[in-house]
Symmetry: C2
Subunit: 477 residues, 2 copies
């Protein structure tokens, strides 16, 4: 028997029988369960942990939404689905799923209203000056590279990070509300249930699952569909080595214990295709407070490699995938300030040459980089990488310093973005692009809206948005 798949003939009896079986109670699972139950389907949610929440409850809680949500409007920002779509198509990596992105942008205003209707509170105040979750309980932030080159020229920028009302990380609040919504819906939940296999007819239809709970197996029939919302695979070393080996260098793996790719493997064992398994969100929060964007980020050759005002999800990806996680943020005395995220000062020097020597960069390399940067910065220009003028100033006031942004000594926070191939209704697709009957998925068990250049909130965003769609589709067929 293929690991992870059971023949119905092996099932002596069904321990439970429902219409829709949701596997995993994070943001995607909660959204799927609520919608399936509301559509009239008898729904059961399995969760391997002792309580719901998953990785979503560990997250910053930011939801990337826009197109003119009530929150954006109250905060005085204009946005359109089209501007949001153009930004996301340009910024979400190579070859994102255009059909899903379009649906997401067109449905974003309604989706925000749905999140609010689940009891998630948002304070209609915009917080300026931070990337991603704010230190206050304010509700709207910048959470992407909208105002950075080249995106500012592609679509009118608007802040789209929608943050539940709570200080600091708001993921727990989001999941508290979404789990409460599940609890008050007709859906049932079964905690401490770990899905170990899908039950699949010889014709390929998935008709149930087998879960393990306290050492015993339970066979669970799903008349209309099984929805895998089991998270990504950041905690599975073998999968990381097989699909995204550089990600293994990151010292912070963002994910609940359950993000071991089990649901992706169950889907693949049943014949599902996967997409973009090499993609990951890599956060390198090196330019917070934003004044540090006036520094220059250099690689092991002392060369700049990105506009430093790009979002930290973009900085991290460039630094890791293109420069092997060898990077330093160089500042002068005027730019220097205490970083929000603790990071080591790798070197200090009275001249660029001193700094270069102390960093063991090639002789003359950092000097040449700064000379060229300063020459253009005198006129507020950055013709190499087009950093916004407000962050362009010559670095000429000694002493000079370099913050360590290497994978060894700096925060690189990673989670995976690749996963099962699904259609916009959450149907899991085989390698030929045809649905596997009865099998659905959402959240990080699937390939996300973003397959690169991450903007915060896209993962909770697509998990809940496409989780809802999967729930409805599974319930109503």
């Amino acid at each position: 028997m293929t690991t992870g798949v059971r023949d119905p003939r092996e099932i002596a009896h069904w321990d439970d029988e429902v219409d829709v079986l949701v596997v995993g109670l994070g943001a995607a699972g909660a959204a799927a369960a609520v919608e399936a139950a509301c559509a009239g389907a008898e729904t059961l949610v399995l969760e391997r942990a002792g309580g719901g929440g998953g990785t979503s409850a560990m997250s910053g809680g930011v939801l990337y939404l826009g197109g003119g949500t009530a929150l954006q409007k109250t905060c005085g920002f204009e946005d359109t689905p089209d501007a949001m779509f153009r930004y996301l198509m340009a910024s979400c990596g190579e070859s994102p799923d255009e059909a899903k992105l379009r649906l997401y942008c067109e449905g974003s205003v309604e989706h925000y209203a749905w999140i609010v209707a689940q009891g998630v509170p948002f304070k209609a105040v915009f917080y300026d000056g931070c990337s991603g979750e704010p230190p206050t309980d304010d509700g709207l932030v910048w959470s992407g590279s909208e105002r950075a080159y080249p995106f500012r020229d592609i679509a009118a920028p608007a802040p789209r990070g929608h943050v539940p009302r709570m200080e600091h990380q708001t993921g727990p609040l989001l999941m508290q509300k979404l789990c409460a919504a599940v609890a008050s819906s007709p859906a049932r939940s079964a905690l401490n249930h770990r899905c170990v296999a899908l039950v699949q007819e010889p014709d390929g239809s998935v008709i149930g699952a087998v879960a393990e709970t306290f050492g015993e197996e339970r066979a669970l029939r799903a008349r209309r569909g099984v929805i895998l919302t089991t998270g990504g695979f950041i905690h599975d070393d073998a999968m990381i080595a097989a699909h995204a080996p550089l990600v293994g260098k990151c010292n912070i793996r963002v994910g609940a214990e359950g993000d071991d790719g089990s649901g992706i493997r169950l889907g693949v064992a049943a014949g599902a295709g996967t997409l973009h398994m090499d993609a990951a969100s890599i956060s390198l929060p090196a330019t917070q407070p934003w004044g540090l964007k006036r520094g220059v980020l250099v690689n092991a050759q002392g060369q700049r490699f990105i506009n430093e005002d790009a979002y930290y999800g973009r900085l991290g990806e460039w630094a890791l995938f293109r420069h092997g996680g060898r990077a330093w943020l160089v500042v002068d005395d005027e730019v220097f300030e205490k970083p929000d995220y603790p990071r080591e000062v790798a070197a200090v020097g009275e001249t660029p040459a001193d700094l270069e020597r102390e960093l063991r960069l090639p002789p003359g390399s950092l000097e040449a980089t700064l000379a060229l940067y300063n020459r253009h910065a005198e006129r507020g220009e950055d013709p190499l990488f087009h950093k916004a003028e407000s962050y362009v100033k010559p670095l000429t006031r000694p002493p000079y310093g370099a913050f360590d942004c290497t994978t060894e000594n700096s925060i690189y926070a990673a989670f995976t973005l690749g996963g099962l191939a699904t259609d916009p209704d959450g149907r899991v697709l085989d390698p030929e692009g045809r649905p596997l009957p009865g099998l659905f998925a959402a959240g990080r068990a699937t390939s996300g809206l973003s397959v690169g250049g991450y903007s915060s909130g896209l993962s909770l965003g697509d998990a809940t948005f496409f989780g809802r769609r999967a729930g409805r589709c599974a319930a109503t067929g």
Copy 2:
């Protein structure tokens, strides 16, 4: 029914029945068939085209072998399995398969003898001065980055490109001999047979396949195993977009028509896992003749990004994946010569500033790059990228020129390196790493020895080496 998988109950009768069924008659398929047949298994090879050869017959015919082969010795080169192993572990990308690499290096001397025993002729003459296949019928060449940084410090360099005796591309000769070996073995071949499905028991065992020939389906029983040797997926746009989207920018897709990923999809439909689906060999033959290695390769910021004496498989990967396929090779009058592969001169100028302007690089960028390069080159040094001293000379003699190495105007020759997960005996593995009984694979339908930084000959090398192992294992269980 899952596309690509049939239930045995659907098979009314078997049109043919053998021990081992090989799907695809390229290098991997031929090696598998010969070994399976020699081990006493009744063997049938299916080939969708009208004749054997596949992509291998379109290739340069180079086999990456070493560790002290008879050819290396006759040509006067010392090599050891350990040196070969250390080079390959360091150069084959992130997280290559160590167990397979070790077996390959330890078995390489014997494997060369086997290739010779199949009738493939090699002239025991070393050809110096080219990368990959030589313009003569000589038998040994450099086909990797062995003498380039950092590899020259990791393992004693030796040329390992073994080239069948024929002028220019020798793939046709290699495949003529391997197909003849199949023909003179007890194995049977069925041409114009395209495999459309695997036949799989509910317990996961693969017991045969369905092939289409002239509009009709034939069910083929395989008592001991089916071996997928169907090639990579460079010609399947959907798979390229899903797994390796940047590869879609390459203007030369190296592969016979059959490299559409069909065998990979069949395996996945049957529950197989895949590895490194984003990996590809990207050849950018910009430094041939080798004198052009004295030039500097710069990106859209006018920055160098690699030691120019690295093998062209490495140059291409760096240029495409890290710099978006925006690259130019800058030379001066002394370095300038006619390239072996036609390429446009993108700009000419009396000074670096002229050249920079004509290339529309940021003002001062190329000037700064050349100033720093020249400063070190005066002493024969390259502290940024460690190009070998023999290729380091100041670029100071006008006029200056730039060869166009962009994806738009230059050769980027690509084929895929990711594919089905297999163990060292060619058993196809499910997502949990357990064999799918009865299913084997080899060649570019599987994840290769190289998952990056390609050295020529590794693909024909692993296809034949692990093809043989799969054939033996399928035959003998």
